[in-house]
Structures are given as structure tokens and as C-alpha cells.
């Protein structure tokens, strides 16, 4: 009971240090909201698409017998027909609205180059990889039959020909990519729309064609702001570094740590009170940033509740970094300065605001690529937040990143607490 009371008092003291200090309150609560406002105003109503996205295609399409085509369209050609070529041509030529810039730059991979294509995807040299199946052309034909099968003109032209694929014929077009990347999010959405258009001949979705996109892309598409908002939640939590180092240095410099050390407060209790205060702050930041995002059109979703779990881990990892700074840096001014400027670069190179180009992949773990930037806890956190908030995925589908984030949180915390305790809790 006594320990709980002391812990609660320390926690309350830490939280009051934020609410009663205008500068800290601004940095922790208002600063991230300002960022939401700036990004919201800048990107929510503007067209973010300005440059061609490089996407890869592996085409396994074996085409269909030319005679079939000849039969129903009245021509006499007998050459095999590859509708995939027409599909690729459409993708190549589609332009940004009121622009002569093509949306996609297509890189074709040979069917023997699957490894090369996947590596290009991992290193982000291509933003998406479309795999066209062997029965792609048959799928087009099936879609045609499903849509126009009862059309009297077509019936008259084809007579009783029975060469069409069956009505329950399925063809699967696969679109791979990292759904947490802005370029893939945007590219995938456009690919989805073009594919539906292609198979539907300009109308409603057609039966028989399955577009298998990694992750589930929104049918309405995303703006840059939608992409950035989960990154801003991460940035807000990272920004708490300033608060952690502030508390740590405040107690060192002000002598309160000495006073606490000779009381019954134990080092674990003291550290836990700081960690708990950071979690409370993170729990306040998530709904605030999310609510601010809603104002600027971020899609509302109950999925925001899932964000609290990775927020706990990220908050712990951030606290760990804060303790590392407080354990290594000599002066409080230097410590506070470092904490103040470190959050933004970490957020940037973790991809909070923009995609990271060509990350160096260190290894592949259980089919998940582990990049150089992934040693920063913000990187997996951003992926989880985007996956959960943008694509309505469950936490289970982000298990790898969640476990990675947890491990990073534990590692950073252990290092931080060790360095901090060694320097400030042991007798001099």
C-alpha cells in the first residue's frame, strides 16, 4: 500500500510538471496539434500526386487462343491474344488529371525474375508489384461474357459458341507492396480503380475477377494528410522525449533526486513513475491528435482503440531513449537540447511524414524484411498505426511489427535505466 501511495504521488508530481509548465505543456500537447493543423491545411485539400510512381509487373499471362477472339468479334485473325498487354498499356498511359504526366512508370520483370522484383519492392525501387496470372486473358473474356453474355448483338455474333470460360471462373490479380508507404497507398488505390475499370469495361465491378491487394486499400483513396496523420501520432509520442529528460534533469539538477534517494523511494519506483506518466500523456495525445485529424478529414474509425497498445510500447521506448540521454549527457541544458531536437529527425527517418527512399535491408525475419531504420522504435510504430488506422487491419496482422516494437522498447528501456541508474542512483 505504501509503495502504491508513493508511486501515485510521484506520478501525480510528474503529470503536474507538464500541466503547470506552459513550455512543456505546449511541446507535449499543443505542438503536435499544431503539426496536425499545418499538415491538414497544407495537404488535405490539395492534390498530392505530382510525379510518376515506378511500379513493377510480372506477367504470367498465357493469353487465349486467337480463334476464340476471331469467332466472337468477327475478325479472321488466329493469333493468340494477350489482354495483359492491353492492361499494361492502360497503366502506362493513364495521366494525372489535367496533366500530361503519367501516373505510373512501368518496369516489367521477366517471369524468372521474381526474386529481383521482390528485392526491388523491399528496397522501394518500385512502389508496387503487380502479378498478372496465367489466366488473366481468360479472366477478361469471362468478365466480358458475364457482362455482355445476354446481349442480343453478341449472341448474334457468336451464335451458340461455348468457348467462353465458365461463369464461376476466377482470375486473381495480385498487387504487392508496403501498405504503410504513401506511394504504395496511392499507387495501389489507382491500380485498383484502373483494374476494376478494365475488367468492368467502364461500369460496376464485375464478377469473376479478384483483385488481391496486400492489405486492404480504401476504395475512396487517401490523401497525403491521411498518410501523415498516423505519423503525427508517433511524432507526438516521440516528442515526449523532451518531457522525460526534463523530469530526469529537473530532479538531478534541483536536488530532488537526492532527496528522494534518501527517502523510501526505490529506483524502480521512481523510474516506473516516470514511465507511467509518459503512458498517461501518450493516452491523452492519441485521441487529441486523432480528433484534430478528423477535423481535417481523416477517416473516422473505432480502430483508433487499437492504437493504444503500440502507443504503450512506443512510449516505453521513448522513455528509454530519454533515460539514455539523461544517463550519458553531462549538463541538463545539453540533455534538454538533444532531446528537443532528436524527436524530429527520428520521426523523419522513420517515415512519419514522408516515405523513406531505398532503405537498407539488414535481414529477412519470418518473411518480414528488417531494415536499417527498423532499429528505431518509431519505424514499426508508424507501420502499425498506418495499418490499423488507414487500412482497418487488426493488431494480429501487425504481429511482426508489434513484437519488434516491444523488443525495441525493452532494449531501449534496459539500456536507458542502466545508464541512468549507474550515473544518478549509485552513491558518488
Amino acid at each position: 500500500m505504501s509503495k502504491i501511495r508513493a508511486f501515485y504521488s510521484l506520478l501525480k508530481t510528474n503529470l503536474l510538471s507538464i500541466t503547470r509548465d506552459r513550455t512543456t505543456f505546449f511541446f507535449i500537447i499543443l505542438f503536435p496539434l499544431c503539426f496536425v493543423g499545418v499538415f491538414g491545411l497544407a495537404f488535405q485539400w490539395s492534390d498530392p500526386l505530382t510525379s510518376s510512381k515506378i511500379i513493377g509487373i510480372i506477367n504470367y499471362d498465357t493469353g487465349i487462343d486467337g480463334g476464340v477472339i476471331a469467332f466472337w468479334n468477327g475478325t479472321t485473325t488466329v493469333n493468340d491474344t494477350f489482354y495483359s498487354e492491353e492492361y499494361i498499356r492502360v497503366l502506362k498511359t493513364v495521366l494525372y488529371p489535367e496533366s500530361n504526366v503519367t501516373i505510373f512508370e512501368i518496369q516489367i520483370f521477366n517471369i524468372t525474375e521474381l526474386d529481383v522484383a521482390q528485392e526491388s519492392l523491399e528496397t522501394r525501387n518500385i512502389k508496387a508489384l503487380i502479378t498478372l496470372p496465367e489466366n488473366f486473358s481468360s479472366g477478361v473474356l469471362a468478365a466480358f461474357q458475364n457482362k455482355f453474355g445476354d446481349d442480343p448483338i453478341l449472341t448474334a455474333a457468336t451464335g451458340n459458341w461455348t468457348g467462353y470460360p465458365s461463369l464461376d471462373f476466377k482470375t486473381i490479380v495480385k498487387v504487392d507492396g508496403d501498405s504503410t508507404l504513401q506511394d504504395f497507398t496511392i499507387s495501389g488505390t489507382i491500380i485498383e480503380k484502373i483494374t476494376q475499370y478494365f475488367f468492368n469495361f467502364g461500369d460496376d465491378p464485375v464478377e469473376g475477377v479478384i483483385l488481391d491487394v496486400y492489405g486492404s486499400l480504401s476504395t475512396t483513396g487517401f490523401t497525403v494528410f491521411d498518410f501523415v496523420l498516423p505519423g503525427l501520432i508517433v511524432y507526438a509520442i516521440l516528442n515526449n522525449l523532451a518531457s522525460i529528460t526534463d523530469i530526469a534533469f529537473r530532479d538531478i539538477e534541483g536536488g530532488t533526486l537526492r532527496r528522494l534517494r534518501i527517502s523510501k523511494v526505490t529506483p524502480p519506483m521512481y523510474v516506473l513513475s516516470i514511465l507511467a506518466s509518459q503512458m498517461v500523456i501518450a493516452f491523452i495525445q492519441i485521441p487529441l491528435v486523432f480528433a484534430a485529424g478528423l477535423i481535417f478529414g481523416f477517416p473516422a474509425s473505432i480502430q483508433v482503440l487499437y492504437a493504444f497498445i503500440p502507443a504503450i510500447f512506443l512510449s516505453l521506448a521513448t522513455s528509454g531513449i530519454g533515460f539514455i540521454i539523461a544517463g550519458l549527457v553531462k549538463g541538463a541544458a545539453a540533455g534538454r537540447g538533444l532531446a528537443g531536437i532528436i524527436a524530429t529527425p527520428i520521426a523523419m527517418i522513420s517515415g512519419a511524414f514522408f516515405d523513406i527512399p531505398n532503405p537498407t535491408i539488414i535481414s529477412n525475419v519470418f518473411g518480414n524484411s528488417f531494415g536499417l531504420y527498423d532499429v528505431l522504435p518509431a519505424a514499426p510504430a508508424i507501420r502499425i498505426f498506418r495499418s490499423v488506422l488507414l487500412h482497418n487491419n487488426s493488431l494480429a496482422s501487425n504481429a511482426f511489427d508489434l513484437i519488434l516494437l516491444f523488443i525495441l522498447a525493452v532494449v531501449f528501456l534496459l539500456i536507458g535505466i542502466y545508464l541512468y541508474s549507474r550515473k544518478h542512483f549509485k552513491p558518488e
Binding site: S9, T256, R259, I262
Partner: protein
């Protein structure tokens, strides 16, 4: 340090059957293998006693206190509290209280919030009553809702003191508790420290620059310099043992040629056994001041420097005189602590 004095004190305390609450033996602290901050400090502290640690800045007072609090690791030596050797400071958290010379509390918390926080850190059951009692004693009741950072210097000092006493410690370490205090706050402080010591039986170790306070408040005084105890005893014992009950004090004008003043001091030192010269003030320690003052004047006349003597007085010796006599330094020089 005079071994005779220590022996007499111990005998006195044994006679009155006072319990030894703290005992140190040959405490040493060497920083980085070079800087010898504390050198073989040994003393005993008896229950209910107010022990003054006096010394110039950098003498090792705060380092000694910090070792006893477990904030600084000793290099050598040992100490016990209530007869137990202290290896694990967790076992004595309840027993010791500390008021550091710096103002150590949270500025953004109110006076009441600060008190409650530190009361919880000591797991005080009846914290509201204890806080109320100490606030009344140190006249902080009216200020309890005020942010600590907005208090005056004296009020802050009082709060600083209260926070170290919340858990009714057996031994209270007061490190320059009245530094920067206004006279009113200082009076409240000393009255209550004295009262608590007597009523609650709190044993106090005090460092202060205020000699008159040490003289009035301390049962016993240790004078520390260069990390060593150089004298110890009751204030009266120290004053008399130093070999003087009277002091002839001369203030010399600043514009006196240094050659003349040096010659004057040299002649005085040849004639008198204990002479100090600090801040243009000459002090001659003697038991026959009334007789010898004329000799001092004669020496000044011979050197033709009477016009440069701003004041001359004969007075009883004080602790400050003893201190200057022992260390050659003024206690107030160079700021507050060490």
C-alpha cells in the same frame, strides 16, 4: 584537535547515560584518487544533542554529511547508527532526515502538495496531522496553497526544513539551513529547531556559517578544515581552550603601507603568542587584555601608524575568533557551502 576535550565530553555523556546515536571512525573520502575531501573524521553523536560542524568552504562538511546519508560513497572508515554498522542505507531511511543547503522541492507544486509528496515518500501514516503540526510550527499554514516557487526566500527555507522533518527522524542533518534567510525567518527556524530537539528528542547535525547561532544552539562543535577535525568541544570549552578569554581587536586603514602593516604584525607576533590578521583586522588572543592593550598601542606609536588605526577594542572571545585563530580564515568568506 584536542584529545582531552573529546575524552571529557565522552565521560560527560556516559555520566548522563545518553545513547550514542551515531558514531564515525576514520571516515575518508578521496575523489579520483587525488582530492582528499575528508581525512579520518571520527566523532560520536549523542541522543538529543545538537552538533555543529563548522568549517570554511571546501572543508569537507557537506561531504561528511553526504557520506552519512549514503549519497556519497566513503573511501575508507566506518560508521554506525544506533549501534548498527551501516552497509545498507535502506534500513535507516526512517531514522535520518536531511535538509540540504539548496532549496530542494518542486517549485510548481504548492506548499501542501510538496509536503504530501515527501510524506508519501516516507510512508507517513498520519501525514495530514504531521503536516499541519509542522506548518503551524514553521508558520506555513497560511501559505499552504501557494506554489512553492512563489514563496519568499525565508519561506522557502522553512519549507525546505519541514520536508526533512516530516517523518520525525531520529537524526536530522541540517546543511546551512538558514542560508539567505531574513532575520524573522531565521528566528522562527532556530526557535523551532531547538524546540524539536528538546521535545521530540531529535538529534541534530548542523552546519552553519552563523557563529552566534552555533554558539547559542549547539551542544558541541566540531571545527573541520582540509577534511580533518581540528577542534572539538562545547562552545565555551572551545573559547577557553583556545587559550584566550579576551580579544584585542584593531581595524587598520586600507591605505596603510603594506610594509608598515607587515612590520606591525611581525612585532605583535613576537610579543604575543596568538595573533591573526585578516581583512585589515588584527586580533590578539590573550587572557590579560586590559594590561596588554597599552603594549599594542605602544608598538603602533613606535611605527608611527596610530593615524591608520580605525578602531581598537577589547572584548570577550567568540567562536568566530576561535575559528579564525584555528583556520586563519573567516567562516563567511567565499559563499555558502562546500
Amino acid at each position: 584537535m584536542s584529545e582531552g576535550i573529546v575524552k571529557e565530553e565522552n565521560e560527560l555523556n556516559i555520566k548522563t547515560k545518553k545513547e550514542i546515536v551515531l558514531e564515525t571512525k576514520d571516515l575518508e573520502k578521496i575523489y579520483d584518487g587525488k582530492v582528499h575531501a575528508v581525512r579520518g573524521v571520527s566523532f560520536e553523536l549523542f541522543e538529543g544533542e545538537v552538533l555543529g560542524l563548522l568549517g570554511p568552504n571546501g572543508a569537507g562538511k557537506t561531504t561528511t554529511i553526504s557520506i552519512l546519508l549514503g549519497i556519497i560513497k566513503k573511501t575508507k572508515g566506518e560508521f554506525s547508527i544506533l549501534g548498527k554498522q551501516i552497509d545498507d542505507f535502506k534500513t535507516i531511511r526512517d531514522l535520518i532526515g536531511y535538509t540540504p543547503q539548496d532549496l530542494v522541492f518542486y517549485d510548481y507544486l504548492t506548499v501542501q502538495e510538496n509536503a504530501e509528496l515527501f510524506a508519501d515518500c516516507y510512508d507517513i501514516e498520519n501525514k495530514k496531522d504531521r503536516i499541519k503540526e509542522l506548518f503551524e510550527l514553521f508558520q506555513l499554514t497560511e501559505l499552504k496553497k501557494r506554489r512553492a516557487g512563489k514563496l519568499s526566500g525565508g519561506q522557502k527555507r522553512r519549507l525546505n526544513l519541514v520536508l526533512g522533518m516530516l517523518h520525525s527522524p531520529k537524526i536530522l542533518f541540517l546543511d546551512e539551513p538558514s542560508a539567505g534567510m531574513d532575520p524573522q525567518s531565521r528566528n522562527i527556524l532556530w526557535e523551532n529547531v531547538e524546540r524539536l530537539s528538546k521535545e521530540e528528542g531529535i538529534t541534530i547535525i548542523l552546519t552553519t556559517h552563523l557563529m552566534e547561532v552555533a554558539d547559542k544552539l549547539c551542544d558541541r562543535i566540531l571545527i573541520i578544515d582540509y577534511g580533518k577535525i581540528i577542534a572539538s568541544g562545547t562552545p565555551d570549552e572551545l573559547k577557553s581552550t583556545f587559550g584566550a578569554e579576551e580579544v584585542i581587536e584593531l581595524m587598520i586603514a586600507e591605505n596603510l603601507e603594506s610594509k608598515t602593516s607587515e612590520s606591525f604584525i611581525e612585532k605583535l607576533r613576537k610579543r604575543f603568542s596568538k595573533v591573526t590578521f585578516l581583512d585589515n583586522t588584527v586580533k590578539i588572543f590573550t587572557k590579560k587584555g586590559a594590561t596588554l592593550i597599552t603594549e599594542v598601542v605602544e608598538i603602533a606609536v613606535k611605527l608611527d601608524m596610530t593615524d591608520f588605526i580605525e578602531s581598537l577594542q577589547l572584548r570577550g572571545s567568540t567562536l568566530e575568533d576561535v575559528f579564525i585563530g584555528l583556520t586563519g580564515k573567516s567562516l563567511r568568506e567565499g559563499g555558502e557551502g562546500d
